[in-house]
């Protein structure tokens, strides 16, 4: 089928106001949150319900036209970058919360539901949805699922894949499947586990069943300021090595502190070279006991300033600052690339020293924000795209950082996914046989390669 025929078929599914084809309608869909990559699709369709999505995928399959599903477009790896010869399926209107069952502790939602809206809906029952990527008030569960989104609480609570129980999806050839269910247990291979994090290559999730957790009874949050990243890193090692399991342990370096403080005014000490945030959560009695141990470790560390959150509002503000850090870097630099590598926790200090050295080598500023508890680094490589060669230098530096992560026995991505941005680095982590198997699975599920084409695999 040629594109004109395809388009007239699209018109049969979508009324004119939900089929976008004009320049002014397409330009805003060219990028997600990774603006170094842009691509204008032929059309954007605004799906109103699951049937729209299913029919669109079937039409694309018949016509061999690639499609990219898009939620809120907050991917930092270019995960929802459109394909020039294809269409974008906007999922935002599939945002209905279908079920909150407090006794089963589950929620069933449509894929376009915003992450935070699940917790909002569950709040009256004392429950919440645990994964909390920084873009939580914006990003959709469908995108979280496709890229196995993480957040600040992964060491204790896991990633998106640890909270998804069931998925209704339309596969790239239009077959609608139900994977998993609503139990924490299962029989047979874990199909849900495979689907989560498949970067949209297995089709489009329509409905997702997630588990809800009782909201922790108590939180204790402490900010500790250090004159060096190394000292902050050491404190993390001592806390975790001591058998304590904080809900979150985060570190920000001076550039990130300044940017976040400018954005949110959370009261971060601006002269600190490293800011450590540790949060204990859980049952009140345990939090109390464990927090005492945490404080003893911090007091004995090199921290020159220690502050605990006064109340819930203060705690929220501390987190708002941390969660704004990436975007806040927009204040420091017109362009940046966020990396997402992982190193073993014990090698954090070594890794940070090497990143600093690399920054000097490439004459490029690097801000660091990281989930220290699980060794997940987020170096923000700052550059001005209008300067000749700046983007290339930044990309080379990013590549060197990823090589380092693999050399240290880690991963090139902890929670943002490969997307388009890290495709060429996937072979750093996996050998030929490993990639062959992944490609074989991809081919079996999407022979034409029309679903989110161009993501994950090198050269795709």
């Amino acid at each position: 089928m040629d594109y004109a025929a395809f388009q007239s078929e699209l018109h049969r599914i979508y009324p004119p106001d939900r089929l976008l084809t004009k320049d002014a309608q397409l330009a805003p869909y060219e990028s997600d949150a990774l603006t170094s990559f842009r691509s204008r699709p032929k059309a954007v369709v605004i799906a109103a319900d699951q049937q729209d999505v299913i029919e669109t995928v079937r039409l694309c399959h018949r016509s061999g036209v690639p499609f990219v599903a898009r939620g809120s477009g907050t991917s930092l790896s270019g995960g929802s970058l459109p394909v020039e010869s294809g269409i974008v399926v906007a999922m935002n209107r599939l945002n209905h919360i279908l079920l909150i069952d407090p006794d089963e502790r589950i929620a069933a939602v449509e894929a376009g539901t915003v992450n935070l809206d699940i917790s909002r809906a569950a709040a009256p029952y004392g429950l919440y949805y645990a994964p909390d990527p920084s873009s939580q008030p914006v990003c959709t569960i469908g995108g979280n699922l496709a890229f196995n989104a993480g957040g600040a609480h992964c060491l204790k609570y896991g990633m998106t894949s640890n909270h998804v129980l069931g998925i209704k999806a339309v596969l790239p050839d239009g077959e609608v499947v139900q994977l998993g269910g609503d139990s924490l247990e299962a029989v047979g291979p874990d199909l849900v586990g495979l689907f989560v994090g498949s970067e949209g290559l297995f089709g489009i999730a329509l409905e997702v069943t997630v588990r809800l957790l009782p909201k922790p009874e108590a939180f204790k949050t402490v900010l500790a300021a250090y004159h060096s990243l190394e000292h902050a890193g050491q404190t993390v090692a001592e806390i975790v090595g001591g058998g304590l399991l904080p809900g979150a342990i985060e570190i920000m370096d001076n550039l990130a502190i300044q940017a976040a403080e400018a954005a949110v005014a959370a009261g971060y000490p601006q002269d600190a070279e490293a800011l450590l945030i540790v949060e204990m959560d859980g049952e009140a009695a345990t939090v109390e006991a464990d927090f005492e141990r945490v404080m003893a470790i911090i007091q004995a560390s090199q921290a020159y300033q220690v502050r605990t959150a006064r109340d819930d509002a203060d705690r929220m503000l501390i987190w708002k600052g941390r969660k704004s850090a990436f975007s806040a870097v927009g204040r420091l630099s017109p362009d940046y690339i966020v990396q997402d590598g992982v190193v073993p926790r014990g090698r954090l200090a070594e890794a940070l020293a090497e990143i600093q050295q690399l920054g000097e080598e490439y004459d490029t500023r690097v801000a660091n924000v990281f989930h220290a508890g699980d060794g997940n680094l987020h170096p923000l490589i700052l550059f001005d795209g209008r300067q000749e060669g700046a983007l290339e230098r930044a990309e080379q530096l990013a590549g060197r950082i990823l090589e380092m992560c693999v050399r240290f026995g880690g991963s090139i991505t902890g929670e943002h996914g490969i997307g388009v941005e890290k495709r060429k680095y996937l072979p750093l982590m996996y050998g030929e046989a490993d990639l062959d198997v992944m490609q074989a699975i991809h081919t079996q599920i999407d022979l034409q390669g029309i679903s989110n084409r161009g993501k994950m695999f090198p050269g795709s």
Binding site: A33, G73, T74
Partner: protein, 420 residues
């Protein structure tokens, strides 16, 4: 975000526009804060989408006419500015862009007629008064008017109070703690003259002497936000000349006017009035912020107590960052229970002339806001902007639950002095 906007060729405001684009990192944190994105769920109708559109037009990659439908739908509520971690000064891109667009665009006749009527009437109390009277007579004809005119009619009050001149000087009660100048406002003087009277009494009670400079006129915000830069400058210049320099602050009790006058800095950039505008804008304060800083006299309890919802006017909360001051003032009233409105950061749809230019979206937002207000089970709602007050009153009335809508100063006045 990178851009290739030829900032030098865009005049004095070009640099500000370029910087706004440059700061945007397209992260999408603005999406949930945007009223039109909430209603329409499309990137073109989101702040970051509009930034892309304006950028594309300025770079010459997109026809202005193609982008305008989405730019026009922007309320200018600046909810996105509050939400933006990167600190994008969205207003500094939008205001000059609209001015630029205004020079080039083709509008249909009825639109032009409506805008002209609006921009020439609203800012002049006497004309607005006449129009309001005429409007009252024309009310039965509403059904056969074009939608825009109908929307304008809806804003007019059903009854008008007799005109009452404001004193040029209101002395402080007791020891004088400060001396300020007050912008009397246009619409407000006709629709709700009680607000100014309450403001004067509250200020006086707090030891503030208030000057109302006779030469003053419209602040220019309406013209500014509809892209009529020339008119805005004429109006602004008048105020720059009319307001005395020997006051501690220039106060407004209408959030839209306050943020408009703070924007004098932007619209007079590169003109001979740049410096004067800077000085003037630096003195502009909302009356609630001023009073909060001054440290107000303890108010009395209100008879019978009051469950009061507080509505953040966008041009107070987002454009001026004033959110805690009015809440603190109201909370000083001993038996007043202040109630938060769900989704409080979202615009009520009034947004200056928005409910005239985009009546359908304004209606949806107004209704949504009224429902959220009612969900608090408040006995009344307070806010700091006349536009919001009119919008809230209309939509509460439509829902047949017309609880009173007061200005923050009216509530305070009641606590200080009892019922007017």
């Amino acid at each position: 975000m990178q851009h290739n906007i030829p900032v030098e060729s865009l005049g004095p405001m070009g640099e500000a526009m370029g910087q706004a684009v440059s700061k945007c990192v397209h992260c999408g944190f603005c999406l949930p804060a945007c009223p039109t994105y909430n209603l329409l769920g499309e990137e073109m109708d989101s702040p970051r989408g509009r930034i892309i559109l304006m950028k594309s037009v300025l770079e010459g990659d997109l026809e202005l006419e193609d982008a305008l439908i989405y730019i026009d739908r922007c309320l200018g509520c600046l909810g996105c500015v509050t939400a933006c971690p990167s600190g994008v000064p969205y207003g500094e891109l939008l205001t000059p862009f609209r001015a630029m667009a205004q020079e080039k665009r083709q509008r249909p006749f009825t639109d032009r007629a409506a805008r002209s009527l609006m921009l020439n009437t609203i800012p002049q109390p006497e004309r607005f008064r006449l129009a309001a009277r005429a409007g009252k007579l024309a009310r039965p004809l509403q059904g056969i008017m074009p939608e825009r005119f109908r929307a304008m009619m809806g804003l007019l009050p059903v009854s008008l109070e007799a005109r009452q001149a404001l004193p040029e000087i209101t002395p402080a009660v007791g020891e004088r703690r400060a001396r300020v100048a007050l912008l009397a406002g246009c619409v407000q003087q006709v629709v709700s003259p009680g607000i100014n009277r309450a403001t004067l009494r509250v200020l006086a009670k707090n030891g503030v002497e208030v000057v109302i400079p006779p030469g003053q006129g419209c602040c220019g915000a309406l013209a500014m936000h509809t892209g009529e830069l020339g008119l805005a400058r004429v109006q602004g210049r008048r105020n720059l000349e009319a307001f005395p320099a020997d006051v501690d602050a220039i106060l407004t009790n209408a959030a839209g006017c306050g943020s408009g006058m703070k924007e004098y800095k932007l619209i007079f950039k590169g003109t001979e009035l740049e410096e004067a505008a800077h000085g003037f804008a630096g003195k502009v304060k909302d009356v609630s912020a001023f009073l909060d800083e001054l440290g107000p006299v303890e108010p009395h309890a209100i008879e019978g107590g009051l469950r009061l919802a507080y509505h953040d006017a966008c041009h107070l909360a987002h454009a001026q960052g004033v959110t805690t001051a009015p809440r603190r003032l109201l909370s000083m009233i001993p038996n007043l229970e202040l109630l938060p409105i769900p989704e409080g950061e979202l615009c009520c749809g009034s947004a200056g002339t928005y409910n005239i230019e985009q009546p359908e979206l304004a209606r949806q937002l107004g209704e949504r806001k009224a429902q959220h207000i009612l969900s608090t089970e408040a006995q009344a709602v307070a806010t700091g902007n006349i536009g919001c007050m009119v919008q809230l009153r209309n939509h509460l009335t439509v829902l047949e639950q017309a609880i009173p809508v007061w200005h923050t100063m009216e509530v305070l006045d009641r606590a200080y002095n009892g019922r007017e």
